[in-house]
């Protein structure tokens, strides 16, 4: 089936089978690698993308469903320059292995877009669907709160 979708600002017209999962199509057909395969059940969050501005688990979306929609991943966010949030993640050494990082950037970006003054609890809530095995989350949470405060550490 023909699907037209915008990915990080670029239009794609691709032919997919109904059983093709969006995560696979993004990674293998469109070549966007930042959404990761972690659990294939929507439990780990590492496949997160922004679909029309909202975070969704791309492992639980069929490619055919997104005809006419817009997808943003961290490559799109980073394209011109790093966002302030990304710079704070960097300067805070917030990530370790980095596998969950792209997804967390998106979840945190969605939070700050909708709620410029989140509490610590709000940040935890926004990130609760993104599993990170390395960091214990504390430096990530602190970086997001710092971004909300306008970059002051």
């Amino acid at each position: 089936m023909e699907v037209t979708v915008k990915v990080n600002g670029e239009r794609w017209d691709i032919d997919v089978a109904p059983a093709d999962v969006l995560l696979d199509v993004l990674r293998e057909r469109i070549g966007v690698k930042s959404p990761k395969i972690g659990c294939e059940r929507g439990d780990c969050g590492s496949c997160t993308i922004l679909l029309d501005g909202k975070t969704v688990r791309s492992c639980l979306v069929l490619a055919v469903e997104v005809d006419g929609q817009e997808i943003t991943t961290v490559e799109g966010i980073s394209y011109e320059s790093l966002s302030q949030l990304q710079n704070l993640f960097l300067s805070n050494n917030a990530f370790q292995c980095g596998f969950c990082a792209p997804a967390i950037v998106l979840s945190a970006t969605e939070l700050l877009d909708n709620n410029p003054n989140p509490t610590r609890h709000d940040v935890q809530e926004a990130l609760a669907g993104n599993l990170c095995r390395c960091t214990g989350y504390e430096p990530i949470i602190e970086a997001v709160l710092a971004a909300a405060r306008g970059g002051a550490k």
Partner: protein, 793 residues
């Protein structure tokens, strides 16, 4: 005191510029921008084949027949593989494993056959068409049953297996290795002790749950060269094991190349070789085409290494003044179906099962026992988390029984520099007392806290920890270093960036010596063709070992730089120093020669000829004071461990009396890093390790059914921490009692930070509610129901 530590580098100034700072990770930008490439992100073109694995549904069975005909004829299938294609044994410390099962399957999930197809879907569909007939046998699912006299032998040929000389398998039993420590006279010591406490603690299996699943792409090219791209902690050890396992096919090390990019979390699970051998072996049958094998999360749970379970029988004797006089610690390890790596966990635990204390009389046994469960292997902590649960719970119980404060009791017995270890060698310098004191202060130990919530009670707990790297005595690291035209540096090592910040730390070490800023130093991920040897990135040893190798390479580069300057300008080497990427001279303050001017091109002399050229260097480190000699019956006589890292953990926990829910309000963790080369990264290990440790005690809960099948191989039912499941406050405390032979005094901390998390919670629960839970996990359900029992009398 007893040995001469081999190497100490100097820097040209007393004040360190990079070492000791929280430098920004050099891989940070890659990871934050989406640029970081992991194995599954790599593209191999339209010719990439995909593999799927057929697995045993039985924990123990004889394979009667395998019918692959339908699968072979299925659409898209290129090749079908079974154990017949690879009838060879291999293994890291002991050769007890097969690539695909041969006559028997020994755990649910064991690989029986494989399908290689043109698409992932076709591989999965064809795998379902393979018919395997089994004769089901009665499995052994716990270590005590497996060591019973009449137990079936899971490995009847154990007596003939090749293994490292410091393992002691018992032929005709299920005991693959038995580490014994006998020191002093425990019988008399117990008889004369004022108080003896004896009890049993049970710790089940755990899963690493790195968010990146295991994955491998393998290709045998038409010149018979095998390249394997893996998410591995150990590219050189993998190359070694691939070469050994595939030696019957004619491979030696030069024929095998392993490439490892960033790894999405290891925690030990990506050390050694687990599923990668399947991909590598299958590739040899489809020459010229790359084959990808990526494990699902379910396979990740049940067919990659698990953390072994253990039944710990512990007996400790003390005098009334709190002096520990005797320890008898028997560890019965549920080591799984194959123990080629896991047997070393058992060994490591056995050498150190006294815990970080001074103990004159010891009788410890650590038994590696085959069971029909997934193979146990390396997991952060390497056996130490497992035995610390019982040990540190026991310490609290003894302290209470003799009327002594648990912190005081630990202080009194804490091992210090020079004390004798279980196996006869001596303890390295370490800040155990400082760690205990600073943790106790951080959690306001001794002051009881009242909860404002009528439903909850507040309790406090402390627990100490130690660990030494568990390695062969000749585990080594090496490094190459070269300059570029702009004065930047490339360092090649084969240690792995798992997230711990290894690449950054290596850059900081080189930066300190060569005065090139960290931002201008690239440390490249391994390719066994190009990067020099590193044993493995495990054991919390690479900061120390690879750090020494990089330090030596940097020092050699510096020497070569000074040599060129000396040749051209005549200054004596000992008058030269580096500052801000330039050579300076104490006897000629005007002299400034920027590195970028000559580190490739060399320096032109007055005659117009040139001196120098590319500055390149190398360094290697292998400890020369360790040995694995030991008396099999007593464990005495060797020096198996390079040094110990020590520390202490303390928590303030709030517990709901009715639901058993535990909130960790405050946690303090002190670890003696020797020197924190990057304190930010050390804090990262403290927070991350603590949270991982707390998860094992509070809610990670692996379950098997009576047939040995894992019931919760997914994140829905094997819970790992989310952003909500962290302490309200973590106080990281870095103690720095230098490691004399460490780079700038550093020693490793990566594993240690999770070791005491389980007992510290058990102790806090006891402190709050008066209930002592002796089996992990200490879930809210266990707490609530135990407490309910005590209340209803």
């Amino acid at each position: 005191m007893t040995t001469t530590f081999p190497f100490e580098a100097e820097t040209d100034s007393d004040e360190l510029k990079t070492v000791g700072t929280g430098a920004v990770r050099i891989d940070g930008l890659d990871k934050i921008s989406g640029a970081a490439e992991f194995v599954d992100d790599m593209d191999f073109g339209p010719g990439l084949l995909h593999a799927a694995i057929v697995e045993s549904p039985h924990a123990y069975a004889r394979i009667v027949s395998i019918d692959t005909t339908e699968a072979e004829n299925a659409k898209g299938v290129v090749r079908v593989v079974t154990g017949k294609d690879f009838p060879y044994k291999f293994g890291m410390y002991m050769e007890d494993r097969y690539i695909f099962a041969q006559d028997h399957v020994r755990f649910v999930g064991e690989q029986v056959a494989g399908v290689i197809a043109r698409s992932h879907r076709e591989a999965v569909q064809a795998a379902k068409l393979i018919k395997v007939e089994y004769e089901v046998l009665e499995p052994l699912l716990d270590p005590k049953s497996a060591v019973a006299d009449d137990a079936d032998l899971i490995h009847p040929d154990l007596g003939s297996y090749t293994h490292v000389p410091w393992f002691f398998p018992k032929a005709d039993t299920n005991i693959a290795h038995w580490r014994k420590i006998r020191k002093g006279d425990t019988e008399t010591a117990f008889a004369e002790a004022d108080f003896v406490l004896e009890d049993t603690y049970t710790v089940p299996r755990y899963a690493h749950c790195a968010i990146e699943p295991h994955v491998t792409v393998s290709k045998l090219d038409h010149a018979d060269r095998l390249t394997v791209w893996t998410a591995s902690q150990s590219p050189h050890t993998q190359r070694h094991l691939f070469a050994e396992a595939l030696a019957p096919l004619g491979f030696t090390h030069k024929d095998v190349r392993v490439i490892t990019p960033y790894v999405g979390g290891g925690f030990g699970g990506k050390a050694g070789v687990s599923m990668e051998i399947l991909g590598a072996a299958m590739a040899t049958l489809v020459k010229g085409r790359p084959v990808k094998l990526r494990f699902t999360r379910e396979q990740e749970f049940y067919n990659t290494y698990q953390r072994q379970g253990v039944v710990a029988e512990l007996k400790i004797g003390v005098m009334n003044d709190g002096t520990i006089t005797a320890v008898e610690h028997k560890l019965y390890w549920d080591a799984g179906a194959y123990v080629e790596y896991g047997a070393n966990v058992v060994n490591a635990a056995g050498l150190s099962a006294t815990g970080p204390y001074r103990v004159p009389n010891i009788s410890n046994d650590s038994l590696c026992i085959y069971t029909n469960l997934p193979p146990g292997g390396p997991y952060r902590g390497f056996g130490y988390s497992e035995f610390h649960f019982g040990l540190e719970s026991h310490m609290d119980r003894i302290a209470e029984a003799i009327g002594m404060d648990p912190v005081e009791f630990r202080r009194k017995n804490a091992i210090v520099e020079g004390d004798e270890l279980s196996y006869g060698a001596h303890m390295n310098p370490s800040g155990m007392i400082e760690a205990i004191d600073r943790v106790a202060e951080a959690i306001n130990w001794g002051v009881e806290e009242e909860s404002e919530n009528p439903n909850t009670v507040i309790g406090k707990g402390v627990a100490c920890f130690w660990k030494a790297p568990a390695m062969p005595p000749n585990a080594s690291s090496a490094s190459f270093l070269k300059f570029n035209e702009d004065g930047s540096i490339n360092i090649t090592v084969s240690g792995m960036e798992l997230g711990q910040g290894y690449l950054t730390v290596m850059a900081q070490i080189a930066s300190e010596i060569l005065t090139v800023p960290v931002e201008k130093i690239r440390v490249e991920t391994p390719d066994t063709d190009r990067n020099p040897y590193e044993w493995q990135t495990v054991a919390s040893h690479v900061t120390w070992s690879s750090g020494l190798a990089v330090e030596k390479a940097a020092v050699e580069a510096r020497a070569k730089i000074f040599d060129v300057i000396h040749q051209v300008y005549g200054y004596e080497d000992d008058s030269l120093y580096l500052e801000n990427e330039a050579v300076r001279c104490t006897t000629d303050p005007e002299f400034v020669k920027p590195l970028r001017d000559f580190v490739i091109d060399g320096i032109q002399t007055e005659e117009g000829t040139w001196r120098g050229g590319p500055i390149i260097a190398s360094g290697k480190f292998m400890p020369e004071f360790t040995n694995a000699n030991s008396d099999p019956e007593t464990g005495q006589g060797g020096h198996p461990n390079v040094h110990y890292t020590v520390g202490c953990t303390g928590v303030v926990a709030e517990i709901d009396k009715d639901t058993g829910r535990v909130w960790v309000r405050k946690a303090a963790l002190a670890v003696d890093a020797g020197r924190a080369i990057n304190p930010d990264l050390v804090k990262g290990q403290i927070v991350g390790g603590l949270v991982q440790g707390l998860a094992t005690v509070l809610y990670e809960d692996m379950r098997f059914d009576e047939g040995g099948k894992m019931l919760n191989p997914n994140f829905t039912d094997y819970k790992i921490p989310t952003a909500f499941d962290i302490p309200d406050e973590v106080i990281p405390i870095i103690v720095e009692v230098p490691q004399p032979d460490g780079p700038f005094g550093a020693r490793g901390v990566g594993e240690h930070t999770m070791i005491a998390a389980a007992p510290v919670i058990a102790n806090a629960v006891y402190n709050a509610l008066g209930i002592r839970i002796k089996s992990m996990p200490v879930t809210q359900e266990k707490i609530a129901m135990s407490y309910l029992e005590t209340r209803s009398g």
